[in-house]
Subunit: 418 residues, 2 copies
């Protein structure tokens, strides 16, 4: 993988030129892309030409992959749907302009599931082509894992950043809700859709987020010390594989041995209701957001999306209002869990990437935190018995993105120590 | 004006055919549009042909004007900016599909100020061509006032629905935040942008909102009785003209004489801070939402918009976070004001429509309620000494849209009694 911070250090010290960066990218693409199929559209020549024109800004010409649910004026943007084949938006999404301003170069559009919902793209898992890369930000996670971009943008409405990051063995970050603007991103659920990042390491995500959001969120500039961790075996925990449960619990013991405070933490049952509320809000809003597509191109929607949207169309406004109230209360109560801990730790997904490309795995370990709008980070580095990545999720209260990133970085370094 | 409910009654009883509706519209357009200039794009022939194909749904073929900040696949959508001259979105905005589903026919795109900000369109006030119609939903308010559509969509980020409704003498409704989806509307500020409605009467707005939102919000189906009114002479009140203050206070006395409870109500100083927060959130988010336009077409932005966006770009994330916290607290505290009253009553704008077309008037009576996300209604019917409309604003707590509409309808009928 191309670490953002590692590459910048090489560029700054002159050990690497921007040509060298694009040579590495070109090599990775030639070697991996035919099997991984991370890109819907790719312009290596154009991107490297733009980068050679002069590197500037904190992102110094680094190539970024942009999930194809996010508008770009200079690439087609197809939202993973035949309805939008060849579609060219007029404008870049806000996040794309912000990345370009910070010095980044868009290498291409990464594959998304249909409208960032469940119907998979053709992307394969870089660790095993017979396994799903996860979704919906399939191409973004895979492109980073295969070393084809320095970082990538994704979006999460249920588990679309943390899950693919976990399956592909890369760092993934879903920041606090609307820390990064979703303007110019195809809406599925306006209360849930959140822009996220993929990079080799947690500290890379923190660096990119700082550069884009204009906030001090880096974790490579000082020592934050060992975190106070709440190990959350919450309702969904039984869905986790034995490998996953063992990995997380073993990691918790190691963290404790290295000076972290680790306590068991139960989530009140309100959070099970909140999970149910996430599903209601997602489907109800999805049916409104995709109203034009349903009315005018219904036959071009996948069966799984059609079922979800029909469900959304039949939900009552009262059920929706009640789900929003539950979310509101859950957001307030969630903060109270953090009196003695800085972060929660739990699986990022039920286990390693499932076999097969027909489905993208379960978002059930992620839904709640998307609903709550709180920062969540996937920490890479663990593997299961067959060598497939297992992701650990770190979650912090709303607005405490740096606490989440610092703890996740600490855990990542703990894992790397072996 | 074409009352929605009145027209539907005529259609249902067979006194009027859908041809007759479009004859009235055609007559109004021929007579008024050359001076009023409400439409950026208009297709009378296409709309009437679609309506004649069979009227169905609660909106029964009624012609609607869609503010040109809202995407349509079959009309150009130019956002009031030369940057988007001739632009054709791929899809209809969610609200447009929902209106078509309910039986409405899009007659045309109504003129908006540049990106729904301050730089005016060419639309004039139907009550006096030398006066502003208000903004940013200038064409929507004017088209309803001139009888050219049965109702129209607008958007409000500061005062862009209630102010033009007030200046043009029509009913205007800004429902609770996100009761109507903004998907497919050009974003200025995602925490503030709200879809609103214009129609001849308050009960018409309530009927249309019910039809679109699938909620029971009509106020013409039963008697809600006299409301309990809090007369809010809040910080901005000194900005109101003598005519306006006199009109509102006289109306309050009449309401009291007719059985409404009317009490004076002071808003705590927190709400002045909240008003300031609205400005910060609007400019900070606006600079992100229009990042692409700033970077690639800066010279095509008006000077007033450029100044606002530069202000937004220089605001610190800390100031923004603090503004959002203020908004959060203000939303909670606002509900507490309604222990003894159902609604607040106050001016919709400082006075009648100002003379001149170079500016669209002040949104200072509206900003706070946009920030709070609460329902606000402009009640038409009053006039100043020179015969120009004066609007009265009715505001209710979040989610109490029907209470706001019922009280506004009661006040409108009180005014009509003379």
């Amino acid at each position: 993988m191309l670490s953002v911070l590692g590459t910048i250090r090489e560029l700054e010290t002159g050990r690497l030129s921007v040509h060298g960066v694009y040579d590495r990218v070109a090599e990775a693409i030639a070697r991996r892309e035919p099997v991984v199929k991370a890109f819907a559209h790719l312009d290596l020549e154009g991107a490297s030409a733009r980068a050679f024109n002069g590197i500037a800004g904190p992102l110094m010409g680094l190539p970024v992959g942009v999930k194809d649910i996010i508008d770009t004026a200079d690439f087609p943007t197809e939202y993973g749907s035949p309805i939008y084949a060849g579609w060219r938006p007029k404008a870049d999404a806000a996040i794309v302009t912000m990345a370009r301003r910070a010095g980044s170069v868009v290498l291409g559009k990464t594959r998304t599931t249909e409208f960032a919902h469940l119907h998979p793209s053709v992307t394969t898992n870089p660790h095993h082509p017979g396994h799903t890369p996860g979704g919906s930000s399939s191409g973004s996670a895979a492109a980073v894992a295969a070393g084809m971009v320095a970082y990538a943008f994704g979006t999460q409405t249920a588990g679309s950043v943390i899950r693919p990051a976990s399956f592909c063995g890369v760092a993934g970050l879903k920041p606090s809700y609307r820390l990064l603007p979703t303007v110019g991103t195809k809406t599925f659920s306006w209360h849930l859709d959140t822009i996220g990042l993929f990079a080799a390491h947690v500290a890379d995500c923190a660096y990119v987020l700082s550069a884009l959001a204009g906030r001090e969120l880096r974790v490579d500039t000082k020592d934050f010390g060992a975190p106070r961790i709440g190990l959350a075996r919450w309702p969904t925990y039984e869905e986790a594989s034995a490998d996953m449960r063992h990995a997380v619990e073993h990691l918790a013991r190691r963290a404790s041995a290295r000076g972290a405070s680790v306590v068991d933490l139960q989530l009140p049952s309100l959070f099970s209701e909140a999970e149910a509320a996430q599903r209601i809000i997602m489907d109800f809003e999805g049916a409104q957001s995709l109203a034009w597509e349903i009315e005018t191109h219904g036959a071009d929607l996948s069966p799984e999306l059609r079922v979800a949207l029909e469900h959304g169309q039949h939900l009552s406004p009262i059920a929706y209002d009640s789900a929003r109230s539950t979310a509101h209360v859950a957001r307030r109560v969630f903060g109270d869990l953090f009196q003695d801990v800085d972060v929660l730790m739990m699986p990022s997904a039920p286990g390693a990437a499932p076999e097969g490309l027909g489905a993208t795995g379960s978002p059930n370990f992620n839904r709640l935190f998307t609903l709550l709008g709180v920062p969540a980070v996937n920490v890479p580095g663990l593997v299961d018995g067959s060598g497939l990545p297992l992701g650990v999720q770190i979650v912090a209260p709303f607005g405490k993105d740096r606490a989440a990133l610092a703890a996740a970085d600490w855990v990542e370094r703990l894992i790397a120590r072996g």
